[in-house]
Amino acid sequence: MQIQDFEKIFQGKIDTEIKIEPKDWMPDAYRKTNVRQISQHAHSEVVGMLPEGNWISRAPSLKRKAILLAKVQDEAGHGLYLYSAAETLGVSRDEMIEQLLTGKAKYSSIFNYPTLTWADMGAVGWLVDGAAILNQVMLCRTSYGPYARAMVRICKEESFHQRQGFEILLVLSKGTPEQKAMCQDAINRWWWPSLMMFGPKDTESTNSDQSMKWKIKRKTNDELRQQFVDMVVGQIKVLGMTLPDADLKWNEERNHYDFGEIDWNEFWAVVKGNGPCNKERLDARNKAHAEGAWVREAAMAYAEKKSKKLERKVA
């Protein structure tokens, strides 16, 4: 068989909704796109722990602290599911970690924004996780089997993240004038970066067409972004807060909300490493990795010692 025949069989599977599994033949570019996307997704989960970790020691009550700890632990787990899925494509964990630590690999730009107040924990849960969930629900049906299975697991856990975030804001929205102001301020700061999470416009996105054809993605950036706007506009009314967009209004013809133009200069600046916290995040990851080295070594040394002991016993 020629390469073209393999490609035909492969695309045939995709078209008939048969999942691609690790040992199946796949085009080089499909493998690379998946490795890139899944590892970036994994890195995002891992770096995503940092802005929230910032508030674990300062959560306003024991209950909130326990919830935040559980949420951050979930993110670590999500990172692991995704790294494992990427590993099935032939990339090693070490390689992916190295790409993250050296800044070669990207992660979601949203985590390069600082979490300034407790209300940010609410806004991150509601808006950032809310935006991520729309993307992840779509990815539950992605064509690469291990990625889809990881996403199903993640989506099951992610719903609590969004709900606890909204609840944080709901409590603040019913609080003192200062608490209400804090709630509105957090929404104002996180709204636009959340919209940016869906990536460039469809007309500017380079990876979109092929990813749709391979059913890695099933909705375009703009479709998901619109879905998010429509969803949030309904929910913010419950909070009695507003979204910082003067152009936001219902469009009868489109049956969707119109919204203002995203500041794409800011988007590209953060993507290229010039966001408020890019350096801080990478430094924190590098520090954690370096300081954890002795633990990894000790665990291996202990495992080796134990297995030698066992060997002696058997002998």
């Binding site: 390469i3 599994e21 040992k23 033949w25 690379k32 632990q73 390689e95 665990a299 291996m300 495992a303």
Partner: protein, 119 residues
Amino acid sequence: MNNLIIKQYYGDYGEIETGAASTTSAETGWPLWEVFIRSKQGLDHKHAGSLHAADAQMAIENARDVYTRRMEGVSIWVVESKHITASNPDEAGELYEPAIDKVYRHPTFYDLPDEVGHM
């Protein structure tokens, strides 16, 4: 032929043998483990995912932390990934061919009168 094509089609992520990179971390030496979870008594263990760990004990503890945080399991199996032999999807045709033409293995193959009742 098939192997040749697969080889030239792998990307810039280094040489890959039989569809997977070395499963042991070069940096830590921690091998890859496959995790199987029994969700409740009476059910089979089912593949849940994989993780790196220094030894079996640590693999079980890590599996508990990542795969059973919400009571998803009552029993965990771990096995080093290198010990799993998988069938080759390219040979699926030949491998499962003997099953295809044996329709008489299914109960619906036998046409019995209604009077027999449920059988």
